[in-house]
């Protein structure tokens, strides 16, 4: 299963390091990553393969949300199908 991880918030040092660190610890492979600064807001969208993840979805989501709180950014983790069904026929 693929998950879309999105990070939105004020830019600072270490956001990508922290997020990718958690993913690496949990054996989650990053398939695609894109990052921009839109109107001073740090925006990162990351598509990951979580099928071999060492922890379950809820646990991963909890870890990333906590990391988001520490970094002062908002992190969401969502099943890729949500985006596919909305944007692909």
């Amino acid at each position: 299963m693929k998950a879309v991880i999105s990070v939105i918030g004020k830019d600072r040092v270490g956001i990508i390091a922290k997020v990718s660190g958690i993913l690496s610890e949990s054996n989650v492979n990053i398939l695609d990553i894109s990052q921009t600064i839109m109107q001073d807001i740090f925006t990162m969208v990351l598509i990951s393969d979580i099928s071999s993840s060492s922890i379950d979805f809820t646990e991963l989501k909890k870890k990333l949300t906590q990391a988001g709180d520490e970094l002062g950014v908002s992190i969401s983790v969502q099943h890729e199908d949500l985006f596919n069904s909305m944007h692909r026929i």
Binding site: S6, T43, I47, S76, Q78, D81, L82, F83, S85, M86
Partner: protein
Amino acid sequence: MLSQLEILETLKMFREEHLDIRTITMGISLRDCADSNIDEACRKVYDKITRCAEHLVKIGEEIETEYGVPIINKRISVTPISHLCDAAKEGDPVLFALTLDRAAMATGVNFIGGYSALVQKGYTMGEKRLIESIPEALSRTKLVCSSVNIGSTRSGINMDAVGQMGTIIKTAAEKTADTGGFACAKLVVFCNAVEDNPFMAGAFLGEGEGETVINVGISGPGVVKTALERLGKDADLGEVAETVKRTAFKITRVGQLVAQEASKRLHVPFGIVDLSLAPTPAIGDSVAYILEEMGLEVCGTHGTTAALALLNDAVKKGGVMASSYVGGLSGAFIPVSEDAGMIHAAECGALSLDKLEAMTAVCSVGLDMIVVPGDTSASTISAIIADEAAIGMVNNKTTAVRIIPAPGRKVGEVVEFGGLLGTGPVMPVSEFQSDGFIHRGGRIPAPLHSLKN
């Protein structure tokens, strides 16, 4: 691969534009629970509901977590309870309402609908007893919703039932006077009621439905409003319609996904997605604001009916391709107390009951969550129901009346219901009487175009 813009667009819909799934509603047939002994019937009802819906809330929450889609309500709809009253000839129908309430609490759902009777052509004994018990049933329960179908295009309008419902609504309001007549917010009077409606208070599981079914109702007025904002003030109405269609498609896809997942995980067949734009009292989640974005100063002014007709049609056209099965009420909802823009429009005098009545001819339901003065007579309420039913009957569409004659309240006051039900400004009704018309009773014959065979 998905583009970053597409992903951000979706995220924005959930974060800023209030997109959510309004409800996953599980329909449960209670036909096999009929018993001549009411206590035995209640036991069967409780057991069946708690067994079938045991995992409904948990699975709803799982889907919410995995997809990051807020699912506001999980609900249950059941076979009209009047069928069980027909079998249990002795015993108080309120016992069924209390049982439904207990079962709803045990499963953790937000509402349970189906304390209902379909009497568009006539009453059975059970239906008569159920309708008489509605005020008490709704005042003694918390989560039970009730509906009565008093007319249809095929059968005409049962004016005896229309007359009776005026009195039932008045009594229900008086029994819950301390909460502004809250019981009436859980009671809908329908013409052409649908069998697979996932929305409350009018949900019940119809005759043609199976054992269990999953129906999903979407929301999303905020998303449509923002899309129109981006379109700008000079786009013509053809472009407006196109934008609404495209947006409705995207919203409905989310509904379809959630419905399919819920159906798969609960092992319950997928019924329909209801393509309704359902507002909430939250600022920015309003159908009235969409109409105002189209260029009306305030919802309710001249042009409102045309704007609503465009919106309602475009929502359906966009949504219908996004879902494999569409049903329920499907269209825009215009509940006054549940929509910040409608509340404002009613308070500033732009939106009258008469304009709302015209609007119901072109949208999905009817006069919804309307608060009227507490001294409104039963026959006036019946006459309001009759007018709505006539619009539904003649236009071959569902219309409904959910009206609250708030005890002791006068025009200009406001009644707080809380939560999704919002805040209702008390709206004026005609000061002239209709009692002679309602007193006649009988049946208004079905219109000529009902003879389709």
